[in-house]
């Protein structure tokens, strides 16, 4: 099964919901079978026993569903309560939705900012703080948790925990414009030590290639993108520090690699993600594409 599946739960939240699903699936199947059996019996059987209609309608239509639904409601409320219970000292991460990418910020000193990649330690409760910079988005990580919307002007919380290491798919679930379909992110669950190492590495400033940084600024990239250690500090687009260390480009649209990076730069993503914001920054000069690609590949 793919790492997008809500049924292949890899954490307690998704697990509780998956269990709920299987309970409801078998219960609903039984009810459907029962009703269909009654219907076909009533329709096709010629010598039926007399029916006490009032008891039948009252019992089958009201009492039976009332009892089962009350039980289901109690069970479901319990599950909801467990899912939303806040942990004592969770890892807090701020996630901001943009058309069509995710900004991920680990607060603290020093803060770590990345995009479209959410690293979490295994076995540690995570509490995401969700914001939106433009329209409504919704963050869904099927194998770890449900989804919570990112709404402009509001702050929402999203709680989950990964119980095993792995890479899990996450995506936007609320129609948010042209490239809603290609607004994804990867959740990397890793052992605490590995996570700490990753975070420490991200907190460092990578060596800066001065000529590359100038080309980056001259091409206008710095208006929207930040690269630590340089003057580039735009915030409208993803932070490109350590870009080379990320697994994908364009919010999980294509794998990160020399070829994809260059095609991306040449069209500012428009070839793989049409109508991507910032399409005006497509680069027609192959030499400039090459220079910027080398500059960004340097930043790991």
């Amino acid at each position: 099964m793919s790492n997008y599946s809500a049924l292949a739960a890899k954490g307690p939240v998704a697990d509780a919901i998956a269990t709920t699903w299987w309970i409801m699936f078998w219960g609903a199947s039984a009810v459907l079978l029962l009703v269909m059996a009654l219907l076909f019996y009533a329709m096709y059987r010629s010598n039926k026993p007399r029916l006490r209609t009032r008891a039948f309608v009252f019992g089958g239509g009201l009492v039976f569903p009332a009892v089962t639904l009350a039980a289901l409601l109690i069970y479901g409320t319990g599950v909801g309560e467990r899912i939303t219970r806040s942990a004592d000292s969770p890892l807090r991460v701020e996630v901001t939705g943009h058309q069509w990418w995710w900004e991920v910020r680990y607060p603290g000193e020093p803060a770590v900012v990345t995009a479209n990649e959410l690293h979490v330690p295994v076995g540690v409760p995570v509490e995401l703080t969700l914001h939106s910079s433009d329209v409504i988005h919704s963050l869904w990580i099927p194998s770890l948790a449900g989804k919570v919307d990112l709404i402009p002007g509001r702050t929402n919380l999203h709680r989950f925990e990964a119980s095993e290491a792995g890479r899990f798919g996450g995506q936007c679930a609320e129609l948010c414009g042209a490239q809603h379909a290609l607004m994804k992110l990867t959740i990397v669950a890793q052992p605490q030590a590995e996570f700490d190492a990753w975070r420490a590495a991200r907190a460092t400033t990578p060596p800066v290639d001065v000529a590359g940084a100038r080309a980056f600024a001259d091409a206008g990239c710095a208006l929207c993108h930040r690269v630590a250690g340089t003057d580039a500090d735009g915030t409208d687009g993803p932070d490109l520090t350590h870009l080379a260390a990320r697994a994908t480009l364009g919010a999980d649209t294509v794998p990160n690699g020399p070829e994809h990076l260059r095609t991306w730069l040449a069209s500012h993503g428009a070839t793989v993600k049409p109508d991507n914001t910032g399409a005006g920054y497509a680069l027609s000069d192959p030499a400039l594409v090459e220079a910027l690609a080398r500059y960004l590949e340097h930043s790991r």
């Binding site: 009201l62 009332a66 639904l69 009350a70 409601l73 109690i74 409320t77 319990g78 909801g80 309560e81 939303t84 219970r85 806040s86 929402n156 919380l157």
Partner: protein
């Protein structure tokens, strides 16, 4: 005709009121003040639920002697439905912290 649907009207009013009180109570932090061993907001909601249940039961009981007629029967049956719907709403009120998102 209006008499027959009073139990549902009671449910509707109850529903709007608990929803509004929940929103207002969380806004005003009533859930932080303790009252009779629980928080003030939950207590208010429980009282509202009990009151609604009592009122609907009374309305249903009033219709019981008239159950031979169409209107009495509808009123009584709607009271049954309204009691169930109200009780359903009461379940999460006693189970949940009122303001956790």
């Amino acid at each position: 005709m209006l008499a027959a649907i009073t139990p549902m009207i009671t449910w509707a009013v109850y529903f709007v009121v608990v929803y509004a009180v929940q929103g207002l109570g969380c806004d005003q932090a009533w859930n932080r003040s303790l009252l009779l061993g629980t928080n003030a907001l939950t207590l208010t909601l429980v009282v509202l639920t009990v009151a609604a249940l009592a009122l609907i039961t009374w309305q249903g009981a009033r219709a019981w002697p008239r159950r031979s007629g169409f209107q009495g029967r509808v009123a009584f049956a709607l009271a049954v439905l309204a009691v169930l719907a109200t009780a359903f709403t009461g379940i999460p009120i006693v189970m949940l912290e009122p303001c956790v998102a």
